[in-house]
Structure formats: structure tokens, C-alpha cells
């Protein structure tokens, strides 16, 4: 990811004020997703929206939790975690529970991005501290829209806490 492009990312909000989100520079997005097609399509959807952040991938719950010691060791914290729920080995809700019970990393915004709209999933996710719950649409066009909205909201509008590491 090249720093020049990142700095150029500006969003025009109502009133026409230009805002640069300096806080997001050099910080990746963590995508926790086991389905290779979904990984690819997510990447493509974000690419279509001209997302500047790098995307790190965890292909199951175990891989996702393996990031915790890395972050503790000084690896840049992700701006956002996109978390699927149905994962091999350790499922998404457990990953969510561990992140949100971590004294430091609990401030990382976690957006659940999953196919399910089961009440129990939504309820549990919020109870565990999910910051958002988004249905992953089947239609690619809509998925691209969703990716765009995530980008605008979580990576531009939203102000995450300052990374301490």
C-alpha cells in the first residue's frame, strides 16, 4: 500500500468540508473468513471501492486469535475487524468474545459480516460487544455497495481510538 494514495483519501461530507482521516494511515483491515471465494470477492468488492488499507486474512478462528500475540508484540492494530461467524476450529463468536474481553484490543471495532440473520446470532454478537452486524448479500452488486458503505462509515466517518502500539 502506498502512503501517497492513502494521504489523498478524502471524503466529502454534507457541507462540503474535506476531511482527511489521518488515524487510518498504515493500518490494515483484518478479514476473518474461511471461504476462499468470499475472501476473493471481499477483496474485489473493496478494490472496486478503492479501499486504501491493506487487508490481512485469517482463514479460521485459530488464525484470527493468533493475531493477538502479534499485536501485543507491536504489529500495527487493524482499523477494523470483519468477522464471519461460521468458522472452522474456533467459531466467530468465540473469536469475538476473546477480542472483546482483551484489556487493550477490545477497542478495535469488530463488524460481524455474515450470511446469517438468525436472531440468536445477532443477539449474541451484540452481547459479546460486536460494533456492528451486517448481512453479507448474495448478489455481488449489493456486496460491492456494502463494502463501499463499510469503507465510508468505518474507515472514514468513524473515529477509532488512537492506536497505542
Amino acid at each position: 500500500m502506498d502512503g501517497k494514495r492513502a494521504r489523498q483519501r478524502r471524503y466529502f461530507l454534507s457541507g462540503g468540508t474535506k476531511v482527511t482521516n489521518w488515524n487510518q494511515i498504515n493500518r490494515p483491515i483484518l478479514l476473518v473468513e474461511d471461504n476462499p471465494m468470499d475472501i476473493d470477492l471481499t477483496k474485489r468488492a473493496f478494490a472496486k471501492r478503492k479501499l486504501v488499507s491493506s487487508i490481512e486474512i485469517a482463514r479460521d478462528g485459530e488464525e484470527a486469535l493468533a493475531f493477538l500475540p502479534l499485536w501485543e508484540a507491536g504489529r500495527p492494530l487493524p482499523l477494523l475487524i470483519l468477522l464471519d461467524l461460521k468458522l472452522p476450529k474456533i467459531d466467530g463468536l468465540e473469536v469475538l468474545r476473546q477480542i472483546k474481553s482483551h484489556p487493550t484490543f477490545n477497542t478495535i471495532p469488530v463488524v460481524v459480516l455474515t450470511s446469517s440473520k438468525e436472531d440468536i446470532d445477532i443477539k449474541t454478537a451484540y452481547e459479546l460487544g460486536a460494533n456492528s452486524y451486517i448481512m453479507k448479500p448474495v448478489e455481488f452488486d449489493k456486496f460491492v455497495d456494502v463494502a463501499g458503505n463499510i469503507d465510508i462509515y468505518w474507515l472514514a466517518l468513524n473515529t477509532p481510538p488512537v492506536s497505542e502500539s
Partner: protein, 622 residues
């Protein structure tokens, strides 16, 4: 004793001497046999004659009694024959109608003349009836009969009624002139052979007044005996009859009681607390299986019939009954004496008290074996049923769990490959359409359409499944605002197709599950929009009406409608009345409506005329 109608009171004591005289005249053995035979015959006859009177409850029943009914004619004929032999006085016992019942030593003048000629016979009857009237019991009357002979009469009263007379007579008195001329004149008047008639007259005996008075005193005594004996006999017979009737009734009642005991398998018992006497009804004998002619078990053996483990309980109940005098009910099994079968018995026992002291215990014991069996069966069945219910519930819970796991899996996993198909076909279309010919593009389009259809199907199925499983809330909602929002959601379609929307729904508030109600109304609106798709002036009316306990809503369209034969099948899952080509859909929307409305405690139904539109009704509780 010159007066022909004088009555003489006879002192009773004089009779005893006469009586002894008669007793002294012992009859021969053959005479006794004859008398015994006659006695037995007369018993039968009296019984027969009395029967009607005796079986009448009426106090007036004696009014039809005649002397012949109660008088043992043969016995008295013998007595009066003997009397004639002793006294040579002609005699008779004649009832009040003039019927001669007993006659002894009658004179020829009477038997061959007076009683033969109709006119003189009439005099005899008149004499026997009229002249003998109004004589008190125990008195007698001396009179000259209508044919001019002397007679004496004493009445026979039974139960205060004059039934007849004992008459002595066909005689002349010593102190009366023996006037042949009167009789000669009678012979001429009635056409008797004068010579023979007068000869018969000469044979008529002559007695002194004293002789006839003594004889009459005896007869008065006889009359008294007849009177008291007969009356006593009647009384006795009556008492016997009454007793017989009472006994018969008692017996019939006992038989009925026994029969009832048989039918109901119930028996009675009584324990006299002062004498220790125990009495059982037949039913108790039958239950315990002891012969009816045996004495019942003694006071201390009453609880011995029960199975040993129940005896204490039974004894305690008896003690309680004796102490409190309050009725007790005991259910315990007994072992029958003969067959040794175990019978469950229910005993209801009560105490009889006198001056606050329990003097008797009485109880009804009922064989309730059948009932107990039935109860056991019911208990067993219930236990089995509970087990089965528990097993079935567990099975259902397991199925529900599996179903949920399945749905969860569908929810997560089924869409992922679909997303791949849709995503990559889209990317193919974007990046490679210039390298595909027309047919290739068409194939790609079909793949994407099929994907969309599959997506819709999965979404609808998940909606249906959610509607089935989700917990409902109950909140105050405004159906009208829901409808307005839903119309707004569909405003693009409605505007594009120029669908006329009419809202006649009242602004009511209902207590309902908002999500369910929205889903139902949305599906109905979508349905109406879909099926008006090919009519020239599409119009949809959404109406409502408040009722007592419910609200009725309807969505009416002028679309293609359907055949009413299928009005119920519309609500079946996957059931479609039109082809997917004409009207795309999954066949789940109406099933969701039905599922939701049922869970909300309402109902849904529909009416239609093919080609003229359809109306879908919803009735939900307020």
C-alpha cells in the same frame, strides 16, 4: 210366661251344669273319628269362606259375613242332635235370612206340612226371621209361631252383628190349652189331610215352661260360644293372615335386599356393642364366601378376613369409629374363605349412639375389585402415557434441535456458494463480455437469473422458518401506519405500473406482534402487486374493520384471481397456482402469512373469482 214375646235373661252360671251333663255323654270312638274328620273338613271350609273377608283390609269387611261362613255346621249338627236326644226338644240354627243351617228332631207337622205348603212355609220363614228380631245377646224370646206352635229363640251375634238364631220349638206348652180346633181349621184352610195333620199335631211334644227355659239357657250358652268362638276364630285367622302377609313381605324384602346385594356386590353388617352380636346380610356372606346358613364371624374375627398388612389399618379405623362416632370409609383387600381369592372391599361404617354412647356399628361392604383393577389399569396407562409423552417430547426436542442446527447451517452455508456464482458471473460479465458471443452472454444471464431465484428461495425459506421459531412479542401497533410505510417501500413499482391504491383501513390500535404483522401485510401487498401485473387498470384496496374482539383487514385486488377450489391450497408451502414464468415466486409467501397469522392467534382466508381479482382477509385479535 204367658206373653208370647217375653224375653228371659238367663244367669250364666246355670249353663255350667248343663255343660257338664253334655261332657259326661262321651261319644263312641267311631263318633270321635267322624267328628275329627268333620272338623278337618270344616276347617278347610271356614278357611275358604273366610278368605275373602280376611284378605280385605277394610274394617267393614265383616258386613258381608253370614253365619254359614263361620259356623261349623257339621259340629253343631252333632251337638244339636245330641241335644235333641237328651231333651227331645226340636231345634234349629237358622240365619237371619231364614236359611236353616242345623236342624234336629223336627216334628212331622213342620217337615211334612208347614214347610211343604208354600203359604205355611212362608209363615215358618216369617216366624224364623221377623219374630226372632230384637232379642239381645244372652237373652231369649218365647213366641207362638205363625203356624201356632210354640218356639223359643236366642240370637247369635258375631262382632256385634246379628247373624242368626238358635231356635227351640215345634212344641206345645203345658200351661197353654192344646186347641185341636185351630189346627183342624188350618188343615182345612191349607188343604192338609186332616186326619194325618191332626195325628202329627198329636205327636207334638208338650213341655213345661221350666223345662224349655232350662233348655233355652243351655242354647243361649251355645249361642254365646258360637259367637265368641267364631269371632275369636276370625280374629285369630285374621291375625294369622296379617302375620303371614307381614312375613311374606318381610321375606320378599329380604329377597330383594339379597338380590340387590348380589347385583351391587354389596353386603351389610351390624355389630351390637353391648351384646357382641354380629349380623350379616347375604351380600357380606357372599363376599367373604361363607354359607348363608352359617353364623357370621364373631366380634373379634371381623378384621381377620383382611390381608395381614391391612389389619392394623382396618382395626384403627374401627377404633376411630367407636371413639368418635364419625363415619369411616376403609378400602382394603380381603381373602375369601372358599376360593381364597383376593377381593378389594370398600367398607363404609357408621356408629349408632344412644345417649352419646356407641351401641351399634353398622356398615356396608362393597366388592370394589373391578374398580380397583380399572384404577390400576388407568394408573398403568397413565404412567405409560407419561413415559410416552416424555419420550415423544424428548424426540420432538431433539428434532427441533436438529431442525434448528439445519436451519442455522442453511443460513450460513447455503448462501456462500451462491455468492460465488453470482459474484464470478458478474465479474465475468463485466470483464469478459467482449469475448463472449450472444449465446454465451444469454447463458451467463440465465445462470444469474437462476442464482437470483435460488437466493430468493433460500431467503423465503429462512423467513418461513424464522416465523415458525421466533418468539412473538405483543405490543400496541398501528396497522394503518404499517400499511402506509409498506406502500412507500413499494412506491417505485406502484408508480411505474400506475396501480391505484385505495386505503379504507381505520386508524385502529391492535395488540400484536409488529414484525409478524408487517411481514404478513407486506406479503399480501406484494402478492396483490404481483397478480395485478397484467391487468389494464390495476387497483388495490386495503381495508379494515374493527370488531368486538378482533380486527379484520383485507387486501383486495382486481388481478387475475384464482379458482375457489384452491382457496385453501394457496396457503400451503411451495404451492403455486400460476407458472413461475408468468408470475415469479417461490410459493412460500402465503405460507408465511398463514404461519404468522396462526401464531398471532388470528386467521387468514381468501375469496376470488377468476379474472376478477382476489381478496385476502386477515382477522387478528385486538
Amino acid at each position: 210366661m204367658k206373653d208370647a214375646s217375653e224375653t228371659i235373661q238367663t244367669p250364666r252360671k246355670k249353663n255350667s251344669s248343663l255343660r257338664r251333663k253334655i261332657d259326661g255323654n262321651t261319644p263312641s270312638k267311631s263318633g270321635r273319628d267322624r267328628a275329627d274328620k268333620a272338623l278337618r273338613a270344616s276347617e278347610r271350609r271356614i278357611k275358604r269362606n273366610l278368605k275373602n273377608i280376611l284378605f280385605s283390609d277394610n274394617d267393614d269387611s265383616l258386613k258381608d259375613l253370614t253365619l254359614s261362613d263361620v259356623l261349623d255346621v257339621q259340629v253343631f249338627q252333632t251337638i244339636m242332635d245330641d241335644f235333641f236326644m237328651l231333651t227331645n226338644i226340636s231345634n234349629a240354627i237358622i240365619d237371619v235370612r231364614g236359611t236353616v243351617l242345623v236342624a234336629a228332631g223336627w216334628q212331622d207337622i213342620c217337615t211334612k206340612f208347614h214347610r211343604v205348603n208354600p203359604e205355611t212355609h212362608k209363615h215358618c220363614i216369617e216366624s224364623d226371621t221377623i219374630l226372632t228380631k230384637k232379642v239381645n245377646p244372652g237373652a231369649f224370646k218365647l213366641y207362638r209361631c205363625r203356624n201356632n206352635l210354640w218356639d223359643m229363640a236366642t240370637p247369635i251375634f258375631i262382632s256385634g252383628r246379628h247373624l242368626g238364631n238358635i231356635i227351640l220349638g215345634q212344641m206345645m206348652l203345658e200351661d197353654e190349652p192344646r186347641d185341636r180346633e185351630i189346627f183342624r181349621a188350618q188343615a182345612r184352610r191349607y188343604g192338609f189331610n186332616e186326619q194325618k195333620y191332626l195325628a202329627a199335631f198329636e205327636r207334638v211334644p208338650v213341655f213345661s215352661r221350666e223345662t224349655v227355659s232350662n233348655a233355652m239357657a243351655f242354647c243361649t250358652n251355645i249361642a254365646h260360644i258360637i259367637s265368641t268362638l267364631s269371632y275369636s276364630n276370625i280374629r285369630l285367622a285374621r291375625t294369622l293372615t296379617e302375620q303371614e302377609q307381614a312375613e311374606r313381605l318381610l321375606k320378599e324384602r329380604e329377597e330383594l335386599l339379597n338380590r340387590v346385594g348380589d347385583i351391587a356386590k354389596i353386603g351389610g353388617w351390624e355389630i351390637d356393642m353391648t351384646t357382641g352380636k354380629v349380623m350379616w346380610s347375604k351380600g357380606t356372606y357372599d363376599i367373604i364366601e361363607i354359607d348363608y346358613d352359617q353364623p357370621p364371624a364373631g366380634l373379634n374375627e371381623q378384621t381377620g378376613f383382611y390381608l395381614p398388612e391391612y389389619r392394623d389399618m382396618v382395626e384403627n379405623s374401627l377404633k376411630q369409629l367407636i371413639e368418635t362416632a364419625q363415619p369411616v370409609v376403609v378400602e382394603a383387600p380381603v381373602k375369601s374363605k372358599k376360593k381364597g381369592t383376593i377381593k378389594w372391599c370398600q367398607t363404609v361404617a357408621e356408629a349408632v349412639t344412644e345417649n352419646g354412647k356407641v351401641v351399634k356399628l353398622q356398615g356396608a361392604v362393597k366388592d370394589i375389585t373391578e374398580r380397583k383393577k380399572a384404577e390400576d389399569e388407568i394408573r398403568t396407562l397413565n404412567a405409560e402415557l407419561e413415559e410416552r409423552v416424555a419420550a415423544r417430547t424428548a424426540e420432538l426436542a431433539e428434532r427441533t434441535r436438529q431442525m434448528e442446527a439445519f436451519t442455522y447451517s442453511v443460513s450460513h452455508d447455503l448462501k456462500a456458494p451462491l455468492r460465488g456464482i453470482d459474484g464470478y458471473s458478474r465479474l465475468l460479465l463485466e470483464g469478459y463480455s467482449d469475448r463472449l458471443d450472444e449465446e454465451g452472454l444469454a447463458f451467463l444471464k440465465t445462470v444469474r437469473q437462476a442464482t437470483e431465484q435460488m437466493r430468493q428461495l433460500i431467503e423465503d425459506l429462512l423467513d418461513y422458518s424464522r416465523m415458525e421459531r421466533r418468539s412473538l412479542s405483543s405490543r400496541e401497533v398501528h396497522p394503518l401506519s404499517f400499511i402506509k410505510t409498506l406502500i412507500d417501500e413499494r412506491s417505485e413499482d406502484i408508480a411505474a405500473r400506475n396501480i391505484k391504491i385505495t386505503l379504507t383501513i381505520p386508524d385502529v390500535v391492535v395488540k400484536s406482534d409488529p414484525e409478524g404483522l408487517i411481514q404478513v401485510l407486506r406479503n399480501l401487498l406484494d402478492n396483490a402487486i404481483k397478480f395485478t401485473g397484467r391487468v389494464p387498470d390495476p387497483s388495490i384496496e386495503i381495508g379494515g374493520e374493527e370488531r368486538d374482539t378482533t380486527c379484520l383487514f383485507w387486501v383486495r385486488d382486481n388481478g387475475i384471481g384464482f379458482d375457489m377450489r384452491y382457496h385453501d391450497r394457496i396457503f400451503e408451502i411451495f404451492h403455486r397456482l400460476h407458472s413461475t414464468d408468468d408470475y415469479p415466486g417461490t410459493g412460500i409467501g402465503m405460507a408465511i402469512v398463514q404461519k404468522a397469522i396462526k401464531r398471532m392467534g388470528g386467521r387468514a382466508w381468501t375469496e376470488s373469482v377468476p379474472g376478477k381479482g382476489a381478496t385476502f382477509y386477515l382477522e387478528v385479535p385486538k
